[in-house]
Amino acid sequence: MCSEFEPRIIVFACNWCSYAAVDLAGTSRMTYPPHIRIVRVMCSSRVTPEFVLKALAEGADAVLITGCHPGDCHYISGNYKTLRRYLLLKKTLDQMGLGDRVRLAWFSAAEGERFAQFIKEFVKDVRKLGPLSGGR
C-alpha cells in the first residue's frame, strides 16, 4: 500500500531565497508533485524545531526546511543557525527512528528548476518510507 500512498510534506521556505526559488519554479512552469505545502518565513532561522515536530505530529509525513545557500543569507548568518539546529534535531530524531523524515536544503532565488527536481526526488523517498501516521 505504501506504493500508492500520497505523502504530505510541509516545506518551510525563507522569503529571500528558497521561497523565491519556489516562485521561479512556478514562473518557469516546472511541474512537480503536488504533495508539498509551503510555510513562508522571513528567514529559515525563525523555524524552531518545535514547528517541525508539530507538523509531524499533526499529520505531515515529512518536513523540508529550506533557506539561502551558506554565505548568502539575507540576514548574514541566519541559515547557519538553521543548520546547527537541524543537525541536532536530526540526531535526536534518528534515535526516535524519524531522522529520515526531516531534511534541510539550500536554494538560491534562481534555482527553481533544482527545487522542482529536489521535490520530485524527496516525494519519491518519502513514498518509500511510507505513511508516518499511526505510530501509536
Partner: protein, 658 residues
C-alpha cells in the same frame, strides 16, 4: 490586539487563465466561504486590477471586513499592492495574508487539476487560520542618506554616476583599476557606427573626474558593507600605489627609467609595461602606479630608480592600504565582465599558438594607441596576415563551456572583419559563425555591409580543431552547413570571439552585498521583465553587464535605469522601518541571554528591569529575521507577524489537510 470579532474576507483571483485555467476559483471561494471567521469570499478575473481592488475596499468599508486573504499570486509580487488596498480602506495593511495559488499551485500542477484544487483549498484554509491571528503593525519612517555609491568605472558605471551627479546627488565612484574606462577603453571602434571608442568615452571619463558631485576612488575596492537600505555604511580600501597622486603630474619620466618589465594587461599582454606605469594614455586619473609584484625594490629590496628621477618627489614606498568609510543611501553595482579563459578551448590552441588571438587583442592591435600603433600584424613574426579567420561563439552557446550567448561576439566579429579589410585590403577573411545575431538598431545593415565586402567569406560552422604549421601558419577544418562542404582553411591569424563571464572578485563582492545570482553567476534582478535593475535588497541596483551580457547601448541604458531607480529611492527621502521585528514578553523572559548572540545586527541586549535581568530589542537595529525567536527557550521572544501563535495554526492546518 483588537478585541473586535474577526471578520475575514477571502478574495480568489482567476489571474485570467493562469489560475482559472487549472482550478475553478468559484469552487475555492465557495469552499472558503464556509471556513471559520469568513464573512465573505469572492472570486474575480484580476484581483490586482482597479475594479478588483475596489471590490476589497468596498467589503472592508461596508461589510466591516477586518482581515483579508487574497488568494492569487506570490506575495513577493503583489503583497504591497494589496497592503495598499487595506490602507486606503482604513484597515491596517498588515492584516493581509496572500495565498500563492499561481506560482505554487496552478503553474506547477497543471498536470493534475484535482490535486491542484485540493492543494489550493488547503492553502486557503491555512491562510484563513493565519490571518485570523494577525495583528496590526506600525512602522516608522527612517531617513534615507542622499549619497550613492557606484562600484565599477566602466561605461555603465560612468553613465550611472553622471546621471546621479547631474540629478544633484553626491556620488562615490569606486574602481579597482588605476583608471576608469573599463573594457570600452580598450576598444578601437564600436559597432555598428564605427565611432572611435576612445573619442566618445574619454569626454565622459573627464566629466566624472571634474564633476563636483562625484568623488572618484580608483585603484580601490569595497572592503565591507553594513547598515540597511537608505543607510549603508561602506568601507573602501585604497590600495597603495606607492606614488603620491597629489604630487604626481603623470610626466612619465619614472616609467622610462624603470628597469622592470611585465606583460601589459591593458594591451592584453601584447606588449610589456614597466613596474611603474600609467594604465593607458587617456587614463583618468592620469597618474602613475607601482606594481608591487613587479617592482625590484618592493620584491628584491634594491633599485628605487623612480624615486631618484621623479621631479615631483611623488614616489612613496612607505604607503600602506588606506581605508575610508562612506555613508550612502544607495549602491549601484556596475562591475562588468571578464572574457572566458580561451585556454580552456583547448582544440583552438590559444596560448599554444601565437597567432590565435582574442577579439579584444585584435582591438588593441587595431588601436592607434595599441602595441603596434594600429598596424594589424600576426604576433609570431609581426608579418601582415593575408588570411584571417574569425571564429564566433568561442566558448559561448556550448554546453561544454558557456551555454548562454555573449550578445556581442557576432557584431564584434563583423567589426573585426572590417578592421582587417580596411587595414589590409587584399586580405581574405573567413567568418565562422553559428547563427548571425544582428538584432540591434543598425546591426542588420552593418551585417549586410560586411557581407557585401570582397573576400569576406561566411562559413556556417565551428572549426573542429586548429593546427599550427612550422611557419606559424594555422590550419583548420570547418564543416560549412551552408554549402554542406568540409572546408580546409589555412590562416595567418585566427581571431576568437570569446565568451563572457562575471568578473573576477564578483563572488566576494556579491556576498558582501547579498546580491543573489543566476546559475551562471550573473547578478539576479528582482524580475526579469519588470525589475531589471532591482534586487531583493532595496537600495542596491545592478547596472550593465553584471546583470547579464549586454552591448554598449544596452549597458548604457541599463546604467541609466539603475541611476533612475536609485534616484527614485533617495528622492522619496525615507523608508518604512522593518515591520516584522522581534519583541520580548518581559513577563516570561528569564534573562537567560540565549537570544543575544543570535542577532546578526547586535540589536538585543540584557538589561536590568525591577531587579530582573531581561532581554531588550533595539527596534532601530532589528531587521526582522526571527533568529532570536527561533532560539528562545521560553517563547518569550517573538517575531511580529511570525509569532508562534500565528505560525502554529498555519502549520497545523497544512499538516492536517482538509
Amino acid at each position: 490586539m483588537s478585541v473586535e470579532e474577526v471578520k475575514i474576507g477571502v478574495y480568489v483571483c482567476h489571474c485570467g487563465k493562469n489560475i482559472a485555467g487549472v482550478i475553478d476559483p468559484r469552487k475555492i471561494a465557495e469552499f472558503a466561504s464556509k471556513l471559520p471567521g469568513v464573512v465573505v469570499a469572492r472570486d474575480y478575473p484580476y484581483m490586482c486590477s482597479e475594479p478588483g481592488q475596489a471590490l476589497i475596499e468596498k467589503d472592508i468599508r461596508e461589510l466591516r471586513v477586518n482581515r483579508v486573504v487574497v488568494a492569487a499570486c506570490s506575495p513577493r509580487m503583489h503583497e504591497p499592492t494589496f497592503q495598499g488596498v487595506l490602507a486606503r480602506a482604513g484597515l491596517n495593511p498588515y492584516l493581509l495574508e496572500m495565498v500563492n495559488l499561481r506560482e505554487h499551485v496552478t503553474w506547477v500542477h497543471g498536470d493534475d487539476p484535482e490535486a491542484a484544487e485540493v492543494k489550493a483549498k488547503e492553502l486557503v484554509s491555512a491562510g484563513v487560520e493565519r490571518v485570523a491571528r494577525l495583528e496590526p503593525l506600525e512602522t516608522e519612517r527612517i531617513e534615507v542618506v542622499q549619497n550613492a555609491l557606484v562600484i565599477g568605472g566602466g561605461i555603465a558605471g560612468i553613465r550611472a554616476a553622471l546621471n546621479l551627479a547631474n540629478a544633484g546627488f553626491k556620488v562615490y565612484l569606486v574602481e579597482r583599476e588605476p583608471s576608469i574606462g573599463g573594457k570600452m577603453a580598450k576598444l578601437d571602434k564600436t559597432f555598428p557606427t564605427l565611432d572611435c571608442s576612445q573619442c566618445i568615452l574619454t569626454p565622459l571619463m573627464v566629466d566624472v573626474a571634474n564633476h563636483s558631485n562625484i568623488s572618484l576612488y580608483t585603484y580601490s575596492e569595497v572592503e565591507s558593507v553594513e547598515g540597511s537600505p537608505g543607510n549603508f555604511l561602506v568601507k573602501i580600501r585604497l590600495k597603495p600605489t606607492y606614488v603620491d597622486w597629489s604630487k604626481c603630474v603623470g610626466c612619465g619620466i619614472c616609467i622610462e627609467k624603470c628597469p622592470s618589465r611585465v606583460p601589459d594587461e591593458f594591451d592584453e599582454g601584447l606588449r610589456q609595461r614597466k613596474a611603474i606605469y600609467i594604465q593607458f594614455p587617456q587614463a583618468v586619473p592620469r597618474k602613475a602606479v607601482i606594481d608591487p609584484d613587479a617592482c625590484f625594490y618592493l620584491t628584491k629590496g634594491v633599485c628605487r630608480v623612480c624615486e631618484r628621477v621623479c621631479p615631483a618627489g611623488a614616489i612613496d614606498f612607505e604607503q600602506e592600504p588606506r581605508y575610508i568609510e562612506l555613508k550612502v543611501g544607495t549602491i549601484i553595482v556596475a562591475v562588468g565582465f571578464d572574457l572566458y579563459n580561451p585556454v580552456k578551448l583547448y582544440e583552438y590552441g590559444y596560448g599554444r599558438y601565437k597567432n590565435v588571438i582574442t577579439g579584444l587583442q585584435l582591438e588593441r592591435l587595431s588601436s592607434a594607441g595599441g602595441p603596434t600603433g594600429g598596424k594589424i600584424v600576426r604576433p609570431s613574426d609581426r608579418k601582415i596576415p593575408k588570411t584571417v579567420a574569425i571564429v564566433l561563439c568561442a566558448g559561448s552557446r556550448d554546453k561544454a563551456h558557456l551555454e548562454y550567448c555573449c550578445r556581442i561576439g557576432c557584431m564584434a566579429g563583423l567589426k573585426h572583419a572590417y578592421y582587417i579589410k580596411t587595414s589590409i585590403p587584399d586580405a581574405k577573411v573567413f567568418i565562422c559563425y553559428t547563427d548571425m545575431r544582428s538584432f540591434g538598431k543598425g546591426y542588420e545593415e552593418f551585417y549586410s555591409r560586411i557581407r557585401s565586402m570582397e573576400d569576406v567569406y561566411f562559413v556556417r560552422g565551428r572549426p573542429m580543431e586548429i593546427f599550427e604549421l612550422p611557419d606559424g601558419t594555422l590550419q583548420m577544418d570547418v564543416y560549412d552547413q551552408n554549402s554542406n562542404r568540409m572546408l580546409k582553411i589555412e590562416a595567418d591569424l585566427i581571431v576568437l570571439e570569446v565568451g563572457v563571464v562575471p568578473p573576477k572578485g564578483f563572488e566576494e563582492l556579491r556576498k558582501k552585498l547579498k546580491i543573489p545570482t543566476s546559475p551562471e553567476g550573473w547578478g539576479l534582478e528582482l524580475h526579469p521583465k519588470l525589475k531589471p535593475v532591482e534586487i531583493t535588497t532595496d537600495g542596491i541596483y545592478l547596472a550593465g553587464f553584471i546583470q547579464g551580457p549586454k552591448d554598449i547601448p544596452d549597458a548604457v541604458a541599463h546604467g541609466g535605469a539603475a541611476a533612475a531607480a536609485a534616484i527614485t529611492f533617495m528622492s522619496k527621502g525615507y523608508i518604512e522601518s522593518e515591520p516584522y521585528i522581534a519583541e520580548v514578553n518581559e513577563e516570561l523572559c528569564s534573562g537567560c541571554g540565549i537570544c543575544v548572540p543570535m542577532c546578526p545586527y547586535d540589536a538585543i541586549s540584557i538589561v536590568e528591569r525591577e531587579g530582573r535581568r531581561i532581554a531588550k530589542v533595539d527596534i532601530t537595529k532589528c531587521k526582522g529575521c526571527g533568529a532570536c525567536a527561533g532560539a528562545c527557550p521560553s517563547g518569550a521572544m517573538q517575531q511580529r507577524h511570525f509569532k508562534d501563535s500565528q505560525l502554529m495554526p498555519e502549520i497545523v492546518a497544512l499538516a492536517r489537510g482538509i
